[in-house]
């Protein structure tokens, strides 16, 4: 075979091999996929249901994962945010969740960490939930998951915990006892015929 043909075949083979191997060796490329230049290496994902229906007062668990798609370790805070759809405002989570933020010291490249948030549904309404990550060094923009929809129905109960018999019964019983005492005394004294 002529030398020119050999060189061409070897070049083509090298080129193919190079294109196959290049993602492994490039320091700027993710193992799981191609990242466009300047994109966030952290991926946030809600793993619990994408649509939740609950009743006010219940406690739900929002599960998610944080994954480092980049090639260097990252540290920061993962946190939950809930938006009130009807009022169009993010809600103050003070009464909803005791631990809104989870500090992550370091997540290694390729590592995926599961997380959970327990959320007490304080008020009925329509909400969206996202989980976010903010890095410590500010080298990347905040990453958000895809939103989960939450519908909270109001809590209706006329006699929760059997409070009604006590709330009604104690005053009635007390007034009855006092009334009987005073009536019998009044009768003894001749006030009541």
């Amino acid at each position: 075979m002529r030398l020119s043909v050999k060189v061409t075949v070897v070049s083509l083979l090298s080129l193919s091999l190079f294109s196959l191997l290049m993602p492994l060796h490039s320091p700027d490329q993710s193992v799981f996929g191609e990242l466009s230049p300047g994109s966030n290496p952290i991926k946030m994902e809600i793993t619990s249901s994408s649509s939740i229906n609950a009743i006010a007062g219940q406690i739900i668990t929002v599960s998610g994962t944080i994954t480092n798609l980049g090639s260097s370790p990252v540290g920061g805070i993962a946190y939950i945010s809930i938006i009130d759809v009807n009022n169009k405002i993010p809600i103050d989570l003070e009464d909803w969740s005791a631990h809104k933020g989870i500090a992550i010291d370091s997540i290694e490249p390729g590592q995926s960490i599961p997380m959970e948030w327990n959320v007490r549904l304080v008020k009925d309404g329509s909400y969206t939930i996202v989980i976010l990550f903010s890095s410590n060094d500010g080298s990347m923009s905040t990453t958000s998951s895809v939103k989960t929809f939450l519908e909270v129905a109001p809590k209706h109960s006329l006699n929760p915990g059997n409070v009604l018999p006590v709330a009604f019964g104690v005053p009635v019983l007390l007034m009855a006892i006092l009334g009987i005492i005073n009536y019998s005394r009044g009768k003894k004294m001749g006030i009541y015929e």
């Binding site: 304080v122 109960s157 409070v163 006590v166 007390l174």
Partner: protein, 253 residues
Amino acid sequence: MLEFFRREVYGNFYSWRGAAWLVAASLIFSLVAYLLMTDKELSLLQQGEMIYILGEVIVALGVVMSAASASSTISGEMEAGTMESILLTPITHRQIAVQKLLSILSIWAIFYLISVPYLVVVSLGTNLTLAAVFYVGFFGTILVTAISSLSIAISAKLKSSKSSMMTALMTIIILLAPTMFFSTLFRTTSFGIMLDQINPVSHAINSLDSVLVDNQQTLAEQFNHIWPVIVFLIICMSLFMIYTKRLEVQGTQ
């Protein structure tokens, strides 16, 4: 020789004086307990906080009841003209005052017994029932005894129902102010902290908070709140002993 005490207790019920307080208290407890359990937002509080709110209401109402009743107990009898005939009997003045104090405490005892079913029903499902019943009774009894003895001393000294009731109720308002009226922000200032440290009612309320919300139920954990309340009781009882040594009717001028 509890004849005087017996008459006081009968008088509380047959004249509707004490009975009115008990009926009013039961209605207030019913309202608070029902709201805590059914109101859209209140019902979503942690159960410990609900019990704490109810406990706070019971203790505060008990303290107000004792101040209002005790502050006119001696001056009221003097104004009604019934004290003169009592002072002519061999019963000593101190015995009169002590038995009046016991009659106020008997009203508190019934008051507290009425509150127990409410505490139980609001705390159902938690491990806080016993702690709630114990600590509300403990702090309520000490504060009611202290406030009653202080109010009786005021009543004996001032001899006027109007003045002694005003003085006693002003004292109660001052004691209740930090927990009821002051903002959380003010209470975190150094002045607010100092007020909380010297105020026995604040100690009682903060202790209830610690027991029922933070679940620190042992007496040892509450010792820092208990001893100031007991010191307050000792001070009030001392004033009681001083001013009830001799009861004098108003002289004619």
